[in-house]
Symmetry: C2
Subunit: 422 residues, 2 copies
């Protein structure tokens, strides 16, 4: 239904990640009625999720209730709910509990999830890292592997328990590998009687020729050297051909392990299905230069869910700053359109890539400027504190980091849920 004459346009935002949240916030004060819908009640600062998975931070340190963030924004309602489908003809979002949410402008910002390239049966043995529940599950498996190793009398089984394989050499894989080897060599080193946690084997598998493929060659090499120096085995050009409870197979070779972490790829949320359009190979939705769906100016698709052309035949990368720029663009665009004008096309400004490798080491590519080592690590830390939402979270993350840095300990070594290994 079209809005009744004089009614305020209804903006529905799906997803309160970086893109959706900024879209909603930047419409503060605009004469629109916004509803932001998310499956969770919190906005998650995903770049630090690996630190929850490796026992440095608590979930609440990097997650803030969406309602708190938007509390003072009169024109924005927050709804906990999951999308079932979208009726574009009727301009309706249908939620899986039967609720119907009408829109004039729809912003689809539902992000991405990990993908197994047709091997979805690997997921139970090789969980990925996208949600808080993923992170506490991975933390549980890592800590439990050391506990089980402590009482395992069979040498081969003990070896498998003390072997950790990360599949995928992008930033998440690199960060996980660095954090796990530090956990083993520092935080846990003195805590066991029968095993030496420092003897743990951490293997980073990358199917392509080098880790951090989105970075310049030189920085990939720096990162690989740093990881190797820390004790990580980096295997490039080696795709995993099978993941089971017993280990990872690489063609004829097998690495015995009880802990596999999947960081090898993402696919977009099922937005293409909801919208009734064809997604690309990664499930992303192609959009016009103004980030709307071709032929349907009422629907914006942004962030990791959208395939947005950038340069040299590449797409805008699936990183937080890109999603935020798109969210801000959509808010501006809606305001412009309400004035009866045509918005200028979206232009992505790439600010850089950064990945941390471990204590005191990171790589940053600002284009012309490249940073490595301690300076890069400080810059990485400062940037993450700066972009965290909320004073409380900034303070807590800083304190946890200072404590971890000075004590070499990890503050959140809790095995919650079951104490059985899968």
């Amino acid at each position: 239904m079209p809005p009744s004459p004089g009614a305020r346009p209804r903006v529905v935002v799906l997803g309160a990640g970086f893109g959706g949240l900024i879209a909603a916030k930047d419409l503060s004060g605009a004469p629109v009625d916004i509803t932001i819908i998310d499956r969770q009640n919190y906005h998650l600062f995903q770049p630090l999720l690996y630190q929850v998975a490796t026992a440095t931070l608590s979930p609440a340190d990097i997650a803030v209730p969406i309602r708190s963030i938007l509390r003072d924004q009169e024109n924005c309602a927050v709804l906990l709910g999951s999308v079932d489908t979208i009726e574009r003809g009727e301009r309706l979002v249908l939620l899986d509990d039967g609720r119907r949410v009408p829109y004039d402008h729809l912003v689809v910002a539902t992000g991405a999830r990990h993908a197994y390239f047709g091997h979805d049966d690997w997921e139970p043995v090789a969980p990925g890292l996208k949600t808080i529940d993923d992170a506490t599950e991975i933390r549980r498996r890592i800590l439990l592997a050391f506990e089980r190793a402590e009482t395992e009398s069979d040498a081969e089984k003990r070896r498998a328990l003390l072997t950790f394989v990360i599949v995928g050499g992008g930033p998440t894989g690199v960060e996980m590998a660095g954090a796990i080897i530090e956990l083993a060599k520092k935080a846990l080193a003195a805590d066991f009687h029968h095993i030496d946690p420092a003897s743990a084997r951490v293997v980073l598998l990358e199917a392509g020729p080098r880790i951090l493929p989105s970075f310049p060659d030189a920085l990939s090499a720096v990162a690989q050297r740093s990881l190797v120096r820390m004790g990580v085995e980096v295997l490039t050009g080696r795709p995993a051909t099978l993941c089971t409870r017993a280990g990872v197979e690489l063609g004829d070779e097998r690495i015995g392990t009880r802990t596999i972490i999947w960081a090898a790829g993402v696919e977009a949320s099922p937005a293409a299905v909801w919208l009734g359009v064809a997604g690309d190979r990664a499930g992303r939705v192609a959009v016009e230069a103004d980030l709307t769906l071709p032929g349907d100016p009422h629907v914006f698709v942004i962030g990791d869910t959208a395939a947005v052309s950038w340069k040299d035949g590449m797409f805008v990368p699936g990183i937080a700053p890109a999603a935020k720029q798109m969210g801000a663009y959509v808010a501006r665009s809606i305001r412009t359109r309400m004035k009866g004008e045509t918005p200028a096309p979206f232009r992505y400004r790439h600010q850089g890539n950064l990945a941390t490798i471990g204590r005191k080491s990171a790589v940053i590519d600002f284009g012309r400027v490249r940073l490595t080592g301690f300076i890069a690590w400080l810059t990485w830390g400062a940037a993450h504190i700066f972009f965290l939402i909320g004073f409380r979270n900034r303070l807590m993350v800083m304190l946890h980091w200072m404590w971890a840095y000075l004590s070499f300990q990890r503050g959140v070594r809790l095995i919650t849920g079951s104490t059985d290994l899968p």
Copy 2:
């Protein structure tokens, strides 16, 4: 098997709660080999667990890995495991994964769990608060009830979603009731568009004639007045006769609610069954004056699992200071026996009872001295910070409290796990 001549006595401690942990720590340096076994990898500071359930603290703020605590104690190994049974004839603890742990001295300190007095079928709708997983589950239900109420159009269903019933008026029930009403009236008050969280109904049900029955009459009355002033409905002399998904029945009357929290009673861990002795009505094991099992001086039973006579026909209460005194006694007792001497009987020194009611209010009974109000609240806070283990936890809890006190907010409002209500 008796220890081979000259071998060090093997001390096995079951449970790393307050009692077990102190028993192990106080044997530091003694010529014994200690194994401490727990189902979890962390020691939990249970007195503050209700603050995890009500979104003030993160689990890691009140839980410390047992291995970290005992890291420097050479004579103590830590084992993650669950007891299947105890073969007292063979002096063996059998774990449920088949491991066999022999002992010369066994310290059973496995605590208590909530009890439903023959109504175990109420547990799914009325969870109790004993573990971290309990606390995050209760937190999930409380926060989810507000979220569901926000979109519920049926007035009666909305009322039930905004009604919270705590069954049991002991310290845990009082603390939960105070924390939930504050959450509703302060932290959530401004966050919803369609409901007024401050209109939430919090009901504290006590079957007996007054809340806080272990306190003097006058303090019970103070606590009840404070709760009522905060907006809690306190119903005494009203036992719950049925708990269902729809609500709590009190005889003919029914309170419609979707959130019931069980704080009405505890029973001892199944230690009596493991040991092959008769437990009392609450499952506790009767012990001699030296806390050993009658007729078996190799087995100590302490803390909430033991029925220890105190005065006026009462038993030593199931509180942290009592468990710690018993743990310390057992360690002294083992040292004394190793010198060939007979230990003096255990004597409980009651230091007092304390319960907090909410922001700026608590009741404390030190026997001759009784405190209420703000002074009691400060004393309560200082005592809890003091008894927390670890500098990091003390600092974090203090910061969370300061932040919560100054901002009226709650920092850990995360719905984790499923977003369906039971």
